[in-house]
């Protein structure tokens, strides 16, 4: 499958798609999107890249095992969810910065939570697809 055309196209598609996925992640609180879809799109970007360039290339590109994103993402989600416990509030209570940040809007624990979701979804999808590709 390593055709020249596909390879070249994928080289350009990868950053585009990842960029787009971050966009989808960040605006999820206001418009359709969010961590899931964002994560799925980002992982699809890498999947396309791996189809075109071979798995090794993609792995070199990512530099670490995508599975590593899973505990990291879980950790982020967990921390953003559990932070309120330290001030005797319930799990998942929203904590917000006072003022909105440009581009992103209001920043609060929900956003971090969504970012955790985003990372987990990338980690999961890539782990699954890469593992399958490796053991074909």
């Amino acid at each position: 499958m390593k055709t020249l055309i596909f390879k070249t196209a994928s080289t350009y598609l990868l950053p585009l798609l990842v960029l787009f996925s971050v966009f989808i992640l960040l605006r999820g609180h206001y418009l359709p999107g969010g961590g899931f879809v964002g994560g799925l799109i980002a992982s699809i970007a890498f999947v396309i890249h791996s189809f075109a360039n071979g798995l090794e290339q993609t792995k070199n590109l990512i530099k670490f095992h995508p599975g590593f994103l899973m505990p990291v993402g879980l950790c982020i989600a967990l921390i953003s969810g559990a932070a309120p416990l330290f001030i005797e509030q319930s799990f998942m209570t929203g904590l917000w910065f006072e003022n909105p940040i440009p581009v992103i809007g209001m920043v609060g624990s929900a956003l971090f939570f969504d970012a955790g979701v985003y990372l987990v979804v990338i980690g999961v999808t890539l782990t699954i697809i890469f593992t399958i590709s490796e053991t074909l």
């Binding site: 899973m70 505990p71 879980l74 950790c75 967990l78 319930s90 799990f91």
Partner: protein
């Protein structure tokens, strides 16, 4: 009363898993973490139990969104008891695993998954939201899928196909039930549903939804005629995994049945009779299956089915006494079944097989182990005053009160078959002369293990045996507890008040 910390068992378990994932290939670190964290986990569960026992029902409204709008967690006596039992069983299995699970499996996420599974169990017990219960169930089943297949041996995979199919089917039915329930009542909070469902005029529909829940949870709790996946699969994974399955997984289904059918759907006459008939058939099928088997773990698997029938019977009779019996049995069964599967692991390490026809001579060669294993075995057989005995008294009396003669007959039959099977097992495995078995090259026998691993396998069994002795001999404590739980279930006003506050007063 509100208490944000009642989710600690869940969160701590998640934390443990995440921590373990960071030590992916470092098995010894994983072992250490597992031991420490499982002990802490029992500590947390004990704390929670104590809090609830002293202060009554505690709730946590996730995100501080008041019920029914957010996801509510409710720690009542029933759920905290289950959490405590889960933590204890989990600790036993965790420690046992440090000794018995081979490194290859540990390098592929065994411990994180095990802890995820425990997290799922804690969550399922504590949640007060029906859809949240669904997602916890999903955690439980996916984690169990992974555990049942980890290692990927032929029998494991074959068993897993059935296990996975049935569980996915159950999930689909459960989800269907939730869909319809939401379509009817517009709520997901179980306490709120309790009120909403009671007000629905179209009782026919409510009854239909109840059937869906019954079958969905029934598959998970392995009742007749929905139990097939269990004997097909529970004996295939490593014993530590069977232990957590045998001890805890089907009980979640029972927990859910008890919860749903006391809080949301109060069984009408048809459903009550149906439950009784199913309980009888479950007892019969499990007992009959068990007497035929020669593989120790398959015997235990069928006995799980048989004893689920006892618990179902309590729900079918639907009096405080009968439910108390079911709860008592549930408590006993979790500890004892876990222990028996662990014991089967120990026996496997000693002899290299679990076929009772090939086994033998254990009593002669390992008298202390034999006596140790005898405790859970005879507890299961219901030899008084061991833990399996008490519940039967309540169930039988509960049956009399409602004139369920057939059920009493089946309880006697089931008890007898259990007794017989256990006696046969004892005679075959422990009494019969040992046969020379060929040494298996891929088995590291008990005597070849390092002392740490040996102790890691024996200590949990001692611990659980001690617990089951406690349940039997200090039955008073457990009876008082079960009685309180049953009372809470039968009359859920306290639950409703705790979750909904003033709202429950003015429906």
């Amino acid at each position: 009363m509100n208490n944000p910390y009642i989710v600690l068992p869940v969160i701590f378990q998640l934390l443990t898993s995440v921590l373990l994932m960071f030590f992916w290939y470092r098995v010894n670190a994983q072992r250490l973490i597992t031991i420490i964290c499982s002990i802490i986990s029992v500590g947390i569960a004990t704390w929670l139990f104590k809090e609830v026992y002293q202060n009554g029902i505690l709730t946590m409204q996730a995100g501080e969104w008041q019920a029914p709008f957010g996801i509510t967690f409710v720690a009542d006596l029933f759920s905290t008891t289950m959490v405590l039992l889960t933590a204890i069983s989990g600790m036993a299995v965790g420690i046992f695993s440090t000794g018995s699970i081979r490194n290859a499996r540990l390098k592929f996420g065994y411990f994180p998954i095990l802890n995820f599974l425990l997290m799922g169990l804690h969550g399922a017990f504590l949640t007060g939201d029906i859809f949240n219960l669904y997602v916890w169930f999903e955690i439980i089943i996916i984690a169990s899928f992974v555990l049942i297949t980890i290692g990927g041996e032929k029998a494991q995979i074959e068993g897993a196909i059935k296990y996975v199919t049935m569980n996915l089917l159950a999930s689909a039915i459960f989800l269907t039930a939730i869909a319809i329930l939401y379509g009817l009542a517009g709520s997901l909070n179980m306490a709120d549903l309790s009120i909403q469902v009671a007000e629905i005029e179209n009782r026919g529909l409510v009854n239909v939804v109840a059937i869906l829940f019954l079958v969905g949870f029934g598959i998970k709790s392995a009742i007749f005629p929905l139990y097939f996946w269990l004997p097909a699969s529970y004996h295939t994974p490593p014993p530590a995994i069977s232990a957590v399955f045998g001890g805890l997984l089907t009980k979640v289904g029972v927990y859910a049945l008890l919860r749903i059918f006391t809080l949301i759907f109060i069984p009408d006459e048809f459903l009550g009779n149906l439950l009784i008939v199913l309980a009888c058939m479950t007892i019969l099928s499990g007992g009959l299956g068990a007497i035929l088997q020669v593989n120790m773990r398959k015997i235990f698997s069928y006995l799980i089915v048989c004893h689920i029938g006892f618990m179902l019977a309590g729900l079918g009779i639907y009096t405080e006494l009968a439910i108390m019996g079911a709860i008592f049995y549930l408590i006993h069964d979790i500890i004892v079944k876990t222990n028996l599967f662990l014991a089967s692991g120990l026996i496997f390490k000693l002899k290299g097989t679990l076929n009772i026809e090939k086994l033998g001579g254990l009593y002669k060669k390992y008298p202390k182990f034999s006596l140790l294993i005898a405790i859970p075995l005879f507890s299961l057989a219901g030899i008084p005053p061991l833990s399996g005995f008490w519940a039967k008294v309540f169930l039988i009396e509960g049956g009399y009160k409602e004139n369920e003669w057939m059920l009493i007959g089946f309880i006697i039959l089931g008890s007898f078959l259990t007794l017989w099977v256990i006696a046969k097992l004892w005679s075959e495995v422990f009494w019969k002369d040992a046969v020379d078995l060929p040494k298996k090259i891929n088995v590291k026998y008990f005597h070849e293990l390092k002392p740490f691993k040996r102790w890691a396998m024996v200590i949990p069994i001692i611990l659980l045996a001690g617990t089951s002795l406690y349940i039997g001999l200090a039955a008073e404590h457990i009876i008082v507890l079960s009685k309180q739980i049953a009372a809470e279930l039968i009359n859920p006003t306290a639950y409703l008040d705790a979750v909904l506050g003033i709202k429950s007063q003015t429906p």
